[in-house]
Amino acid sequence: MNKKINPGVFYLLPVMLFIILIFLIPLIYSLGTSFTRWLLLRPDLGVKFIGLTNYIRLFKDIFTWQTLGRTFYFVFGAVSIETIVGFILALTLNTEFKGWKVVQSIILVPFMMAPIVVGFTWKFILDDNFGLIPYMLKAIGLGNITKDVPLLANPKMAMPMIIIADAWEYIPVVTLIILAGLKSLPIELYEAANVDGATSFQKFKYITLPMLRPVILVAVVMRTLTSLQVFDSIYVMTGGGPGSATETLSFYTYREAFISYDIGFSSALNVLIILLAMIFTIIYMKIIRG
């Protein structure tokens, strides 16, 4: 008997090829190299299969756990601020006031900037000599905060500054996603609520929030996954310092890949980042379905 091939398969072929070439092959290659000792600067040592040695080194090293902790600190901090502020901005922009289209365009400007430019911008804003924020802190009598140690050289303040720079860049995109969700909410529900005498807070709590939940979670998932890859702002603003106060997993991976040229170990770090991304995605999907 001849089985007929579903013609729909042929329409899917290009995108499947794209996924295989751009995603699967590099992923499998990276997974493969994570089981090797491969030092690009030492071709005399060859590429040697070493099994789980890179992963054992990864998980035995206390630095990895500290870096994981800093990564979670960054991701949680950045995503929380972006979600809350983005949500508030979206609610504000949902009402059409005079010039709202212009405001909407201006809000997008940080997101249009290249991440490295954002890093330089915030490095200047936080500069102790001529930066806006130290100047404002001195003006309101809080100059002691930066008197001896600039914000980016303070181990306790450096990461919050990186988080603020990241939030500044990505709040617009979260705002846009939630705003799109708000605009798609059925108006009839609000009309019915009005008829029932619901207050604004009740409408927000019982209609807006539940209906927006999937949209908010999409924004959170997207920002979580991209936050795991933060690099540019850290590279420019602090170089991972002071000490290792702003070194996240992606920066650690960069150091191992492009300073030590240890392809095996940096591949293992990459696999760890991918695993984290998958875990976060699974958790969020369960929450959405729930």
Binding site: P43, D128, T238, G240, G241, P242, G243, R255
Partner: protein, 431 residues
């Protein structure tokens, strides 16, 4: 008409693709003033020899990565890269570059005329011919140091003449003396976690008679001398602007150029910028002194931070003779002196001693004095793992110490432990 225009444009494009000829030699370099210096020689070289040159310039931050990608992928992108002397061991060991001393005609390059030639010599073969060199030391404001009022006040306070520092004690005294925030700071340093921060530590370690490694490549920087060097560095930050704790080279240079500090612990390249009236407020008022020593080590010839950039020949280069011709032309002493004012300290003794050179760069005699009194020592150990040792182990731990997270001993011990494991895994201790 529109179709005709489209046809013409397409024909031009196609024609340029078909008939475009690769240059005889493909050069690659970072974007920097010493590149501008030898770039100015390219046309003259082509006129003289008929050999065509093509140059690609890449920002420093990406340069080594791009070069490595080109070599590791097996592509034959560049014939004569202009590289940092620090990269030579890694490139040579991996056989990405060819020993210049093995190329016919290389003797004309006169290796004896090159300072620090041993740095680029591996297994008795020379891999790089430097075009440019510089030392790490102290750039200082001649107007402040020569001011009679400042001199008198300094002598009253410290009991000796104000002059460019020879000892670490004098260096610290002068930094303290000129510490007048917010308008003037005693010293500019580079405190961000980076290779620049580590140079401050290394200079002090060497000045105090310490070493990074012993003869078996075991780390010795975590000795008592190392701890003293680190603690000494922290003392200097007291007389620097707080912003220095997050500076890299460009930030430090900008602060000095703006006249905000009396001294900057930086490299001699800074003088080209600091003395440029178009960008600097202290133009004509900057000079250089080699890194100070201690009283005990004052008369010893000790390592001092030494940086050089020069030409290497890729192993895949087809015509190595042409490469030698270019290198010979670019590093000819007369040409080095000619282009020095553009931004190059010549990497040849004969050029440094040319009587014409001090007329163009007044601080050259001070530079030559410092060079002859030191052992030119590269920024990191000349092994493939060198960059990792500095950036991945020393930089984070020194930064931890300065941020108050670790003590000097903890920081250096942690760095030494990491370096030991790195070199052990790479087989340095199993021979």
């Amino acid at each position: 008409m529109k179709k005709l225009k489209v046809f013409l444009v397409l024909s031009l494009l196609l024609g340029s693709l078909l008939f475009a000829k690769d240059a005889d030699l493909r050069l690659v370099s970072e974007v920097g003033i010493h590149t501008e210096a030898w770039k100015s020689l390219m046309d003259d070289f082509t006129k003289q020899t008929g050999i065509t040159l093509q140059l690609e310039q890449i920002p420093y931050a990406n340069y080594f990565d791009k070069l490595m990608l080109s070599y590791t992928s097996g592509r034959n992108d560049y014939d004569v890269p202009y590289v940092s002397g620090l990269w030579v061991p890694a490139l040579a060991k991996a056989k990405y570059i060819y020993p210049i001393s093995d190329i016919t005609g290389a003797k004309a390059l006169n290796f004896k005329d090159i300072p620090g030639i041993s740095i680029y010599t591996i297994d008795k073969k020379v891999y790089m011919i430097p075009f440019y060199q510089e030392l790490g030391g102290v750039v200082y404001r001649t107007d402040l140091f020569n001011d009679p009022v400042e001199k008198q006040k300094f002598k009253e306070k410290y009991g000796y003449e104000l002059q460019p520092p020879k000892t670490l004690k004098q260096y610290l005294d002068i930094a303290e003396f000129f510490y007048r925030p917010p308008d003037l700071y005693g010293i500019t340093l580079m405190g961000q976690r980076s290779i620049f921060l580590v140079t401050h530590f290394m200079q002090r370690l060497w000045a105090m008679g310490g070493k990074l490694f012993d003869s078996k490549m075991k780390p010795t920087f975590n000795s008592k001398i190392g701890e003293k060097a680190l603690e000494n560095l922290k003392e200097f930050f007291k007389y620097a602007s707080p912003a220095c704790k997050n500076y890299v080279f460009q930030d430090a240079l900008t602060e000095f150029e703006n006249g905000k500090s009396a001294m900057a612990e930086i490299w001699t390249t800074a003088l080209f910028y600091a003395n440029n009236p178009q960008i600097s407020k202290v133009a004509g008022k900057a000079s250089f002194v080699g890194f100070p020593r201690t009283e005990e080590t004052l008369n010893r010839k000790l390592p001092m931070l030494y940086i050089s950039w020069g030409f290497v020949v890729s192993s895949s280069t087809k015509d190595k003779q042409k490469a030698i011709e270019w290198i010979k032309f670019a590093t000819d002493p007369k040409n080095l002196v000619k282009v020095a004012p553009i931004g190059c300290i010549p990497a040849r003794f004969s050029a440094l001693r040319d009587p014409e050179l001090p007329k163009k760069l007044s601080w050259i005699p001070d530079f030559e004095k410092a060079l002859s009194n030191c052992i030119p020592t590269p920024l990191y150990p000349l092994i493939p793992e060198g960059q990792a040792i500095i950036n991945n182990y020393l930089a984070p731990n020194i930064s931890d110490y300065l941020a108050g997270i670790k003590t000097a001993k903890q920081a250096l011990d942690d760095a030494a432990k990491g370096v030991y494991e790195l070199l052990n895994n790479a087989g340095y201790y199993s021979k």
